[in-house]
Symmetry: D2
Subunit: 401 residues, 4 copies
């Protein structure tokens, strides 16, 4: 009987390098798989390192454009913010990574898939629920959760097995990054009264060091998809990365959040999402101009649910499919241009225009051009207020007399 294969989500760090060896100890042949979702890592190095620490083969997959179009864009169009606060950085990439792991596993004839998450985070849930949705027959292994070693025990095991120890091992932060943003947790952040130290941030400048000159960028959207910056077209993943740079320079998109994890605890994390926050602002303003009132007022209900299903690892649920169908319909006329001023940590929308604008100067104006029928208001108010009036007549009287 040949050795069974496991496909491991490999990052190049200590945990997943040790996991290669540990899975071998369990009798598996390990296929390493690293996804590029825009975190800007040295992928060649990671590919080689996987082989060096014992993987039988090593995949590196450029998934940036797929991530941008199928995941980040949904979050953008949904205006998805977990707890009205942060735009779901890691939660977005997990289902895509799971999907690619499953594809590689099916292609390689592997019996299992493995990830490097601990037992306390949200990502283990997202990986495992996604994998079992995509292929319920695959086994899921979670070496780090299973071995339960202390940092010291892990290092000792690594040394004994010739696994190189990364030089930045004593970094106090645990980092995850993709083109939608960067997340950091741990260390000094664990005291919610303490301000996050500058070292927790990487892709945004501190306000104190941002330029005293604003940059202005015009972002063009077609049916809810950002397609150009200052008139120049970009593939979506590049557009986002470009904005990360432009807005990061101005300190846009730092978020410091005490959040409720899916596994029942509160944790404190800091995020940097310069491109995402700039796009979210611009997109919202274009929606304010082009969505009819009843859509504008109900869409947040959908947005809140999308943010929850993404955070909670239910990306591959039929609920997500249905929510996306709703979403797509709303974006049909979200076409136009938004002018954003990047300055001192702000992405300020200064102007928005659209061929589908529902803002009608002839109705809104207070000048002589006014076409709004002011007398309609009399009848409107009479019926709008009628239930309240009857309630007052009947029930308030009863109370006071």
């Amino acid at each position: 009987m040949s050795v069974q294969k496991v496909v491991l989500a490999y990052s190049g760090g200590l945990d997943t390098s040790v996991a290669v060896k540990w899975l071998q100890d369990q009798g598996y042949a390990v296929v390493a798989c690293c996804l590029d979702v825009g975190e800007g890592k040295d992928l060649d190095f990671i590919k080689q390192k996987a082989l060096q620490v014992g993987a039988v083969s090593s995949y590196v997959i450029d998934a940036k454009e797929e991530f941008a179009h199928e995941y980040a864009l949904i979050a953008l169009q949904a205006q998805a913010m977990y707890e009205e606060k942060y735009p779901l950085v890691s939660a977005l990439s997990r289902p895509l990574i799971a999907k690619k792991l499953v594809e590689v596993a099916e292609q390689e004839g592997a019996v299992a898939v493995a990830h490097g998450c601990t037992g306390k985070g949200n990502d283990q849930v997202r990986f495992e629920v996604s994998i079992s949705a995509l292929n319920p027959d695959l086994k899921v292994l979670a070496p780090v959760r299973e071995w339960s070693w202390s940092r010291e025990e892990e290092i000792e095991y690594a040394k004994k097995n010739g696994i190189p120890i990364p030089i930045n091992l004593d970094s106090p932060y645990s980092i995850d990054q993709n083109l939608w943003g960067r997340a950091a947790e741990c260390g000094v952040l664990e005291d919610p009264w303490a301000a996050p130290p500058e070292g927790a941030y990487d892709i945004t400048l501190p306000l104190e060091q941002t330029p005293d000159q604003a940059d202005v960028v015009e972002i063009e959207f077609v049916s809810g998809v950002p397609v150009s910056l200052n008139g120049k077209s970009y593939p979506l993943s590049e557009l986002i990365l470009k904005l990360n740079e432009m807005a990061g320079k101005h300190g846009v998109g730092r978020i410091d959040h005490v959040e409720n994890r899916l596994v029942g605890i509160k944790s404190r994390e800091v995020y940097e999402c310069p491109g995402a926050m700039t796009l979210l602002k611009a997109h919202k303003e274009l929606e304010d101009l082009t969505l009819v009132k009843e859509v504008a007022h109900f869409k947040p209900v959908i947005s809140k649910k999308i943010a929850e299903v993404i955070y909670d690892g239910l990306w591959f649920s039929p609920l997500t499919t249905a929510l996306k169908a709703f979403l797509k319909e709303t974006q049909k006329y979200v076409t136009g241009t938004v002018r954003v001023k990047l300055f001192k940590g702000h992405a300020i929308v200064e102007g928005r225009k659209s061929a589908y604008s529902l803002y009608d100067e002839k109705l809104a104006t207070y000048t002589a051009e006014d076409q709004f029928d002011h007398q309609s208001a009399v009848g409107f108010i009479q019926l709008w207020g009628l239930p309240t009036k009857v309630q007052s007549q009947v029930q308030q009287k009863k109370v006071t007399v």
Copy 2:
């Protein structure tokens, strides 16, 4: 038969001054009533002017503390933002003004109440629905809506009747202000592609002129009520006004919004809410620390509805009472201190602490202190993902085979 009285919401401006005369023409004796809800006007001048233009009596009522506690505080605790964008400035004061008008009317034996709104705004709805909720027997008059004069006709009438024309009459803005913020509409703002000119703003500095040195303020809350700044206690209305000043200096709280009015049109307005936005940020962070997850995740549903009923003029509806009862229960443990850095248009929460903090370092930490049971996650994920797994086994298979 003696002349019937009408109580007029009097602001001192041209519209309501002309309205005094116009109502007299209709045969009423006019009682002027001006409320101080924190807009910083010269109230003595207004009181005298009302008499000068013909009011039989003139009330000026200091309602700042009532407005702060019974209206602005609800909006703060609800995190009420209309269309996720602006904290309901004018919509909050209208029901209180209506209440005072009704009280004065009952006291004076008036048969009617009058306001100076046009037929196109939201405020006419808020006034009229509130008044009919509080006293359905009172008649409501809307002189400006009724006379339908052009600006020129109005001025001519004023001149003919000896009504002084304000010197700032050619200001392009229509302004409303209270301690929760300041709203401006009209003029150049009617082009949503144009950036708002500096003249539209008054109580915040432009970013370019804000200090290069941050101010840090510690805001203390007791059960959701802000009670002190940097350790010094203030009555709520003073605390908000103080923060308007402190945060306004740093350019905090400018909002530029294309919104959906209750009367069916989109309009573009700019707001300045330095104190409100600072308090809303600080309060949210304290809630993030002290609200249990299920409350944190459901409260936004209540907040959205509160924002809607306030915007839509239903303050005196039994629904508002019920929503407030929910809200009050959630604030019991929202007690603690938030440290806010005011800088370059931002109110950045750098730290938050509470004796009721549900953030538990022993559970959240990744150090050796960790008390979280990592193995619980295995069972949790199995049941959490079970519906998705069964769905995949049964329904996805059916589709693909």
Copy 3:
């Protein structure tokens, strides 16, 4: 200049017959248009009568199958119930009638469309909002609302103009019917303490006269569409009419409702929806079997909103389109058979089966076949209850000590 045309929604009753003449008095040539949406009227008679009372041409359009598929089916799949009570009978047909009126108007080159609603009902809103959504250039006329005659004045006018007075004119009820149900209002029903008299009902037998023998019907659904009864296929409109008959015989689907109208008043109406209620029950049970939990728990939010937009006349809003897109996704696996017992006013679902059933006996059973991992529950409960436990430790202790 030739005479301008108006297309009138013509029912054959007194109001719209008088309206033909009244519109002529206003100088219009009247095109009568009567839709068959399953109310079982004598359409030939109506067609002729329109011409007889003066219409220049008279359309009768069979819209039953379009109504069934594009309107009633949406209400079925959405489980749409206004105020959790009644399945939106008239509200469903109004947008379709409006659509056909507009089509005829465009075809005939008419400048206006007219309906026979009074100023107090919901239907005027539905007609007018729908028409202006479909063709904002068409004028809408509402003769009955405009002429404001008493019954006596209307009859007098009719007599003077040779319009035949229907023999059932003194019927105390105002009726509207389509294949999704029948609505009656007025007369004795206006006292909500009085039981509706038998005369208010027409298509259902009173319980006292229903058979003592049940009928059992197997309803088959394919992707949320009912396709056969007891193994026999029917076009949807016929299937619903057939069920109206079968279930009506057993007294299924009477509803007596004090409802909140869009125009601000409460009214009391009685409905008969034998087919609709039977289908709604059966469909819900099949959904219970085939929808994954998170869809089952969120879909009611969509259903409630769909019921509201339908009731409120917003069928042609982009919101409806987006809600329908969500809905459609949820119906993909709602395929299977439901066995319904019709008996004594009940449509009792006795059994349901589906190739896509998510009910898994191996997981649900308490026999030795059980494949559910009972130990998973321990970890699940620990994390599920963790927020509550920490809240209790921190906040309850604070309170009691």
Copy 4:
């Protein structure tokens, strides 16, 4: 060192009788505790049996009135229906039982509390989350979940330890009952295509055996609390039990439900809730008469959430407290009388009246008494439909041209 005590939720059945012995084997002294929540058991027998099988003491607590007022009444006023289908029978009693167990444990100085649930149901979650909310220091034991015996092994253990085997042991149903209803699962019910056999029901007559003569009952409510039947006052628990009898005789309240359990599986259960369903219907009708529209339209959002938190075991969460505060405000004017006809499985509301009725005949009538201003509708419709009209003009034109 003295032996440690555990308080066991004791039902008198085989599982909890065996648990007494099993807990002794673990070294505990067992305090048995049986609650009367209206299931109509022989409590004296249970009390004695606990002692007989080895408990050191045995409590029987009459909690019927507390259950009625603090639990069932909330469910009634909330119109709480899990999955729009069943009124939360067992889920309501679990938190009360947990509360009493904790009280007895604190009084007895016990270190633990034990329940007889398996690892597959919802009740284990409800017990354990409730207990840890009320006293996080108490240990929770789940003997049945832990021992994982087959039925045969359990019986063998019982015989070996002199525990009497109940004569109805081979009943195919697992039953739970309280005054809000009766739940049955298992056996033949596990096939969702099979109709539930009569043996699954106990407190309702089959339709075929119900009287051919209706009973009519007038139910009086004061602020949402049912206080009398046909003019005779009852304590709430007696009123519900009385209605169980009256309505059960007519076959009211049978429910057959394939539901989504909290632990991730679908299960099929049948319920009988004659009193609950009768009260829910009556209460809804009184609300339809007395709640103002905006309350009536938002309360279902609260109801849905209450049903979820109850089902999901979060009764003692601060969220429940806040939801109850909302609820209470809505019930202030739900005062009046509802006339219900009990007949052939139906509780038909024939009439409803209230001194706080918002149904205004003067506004609703189509007679000459009509006080509704029909012309108001013109202005109302114009503004109501304005967003749709503008959307059509701007966006539909763009599409079609």
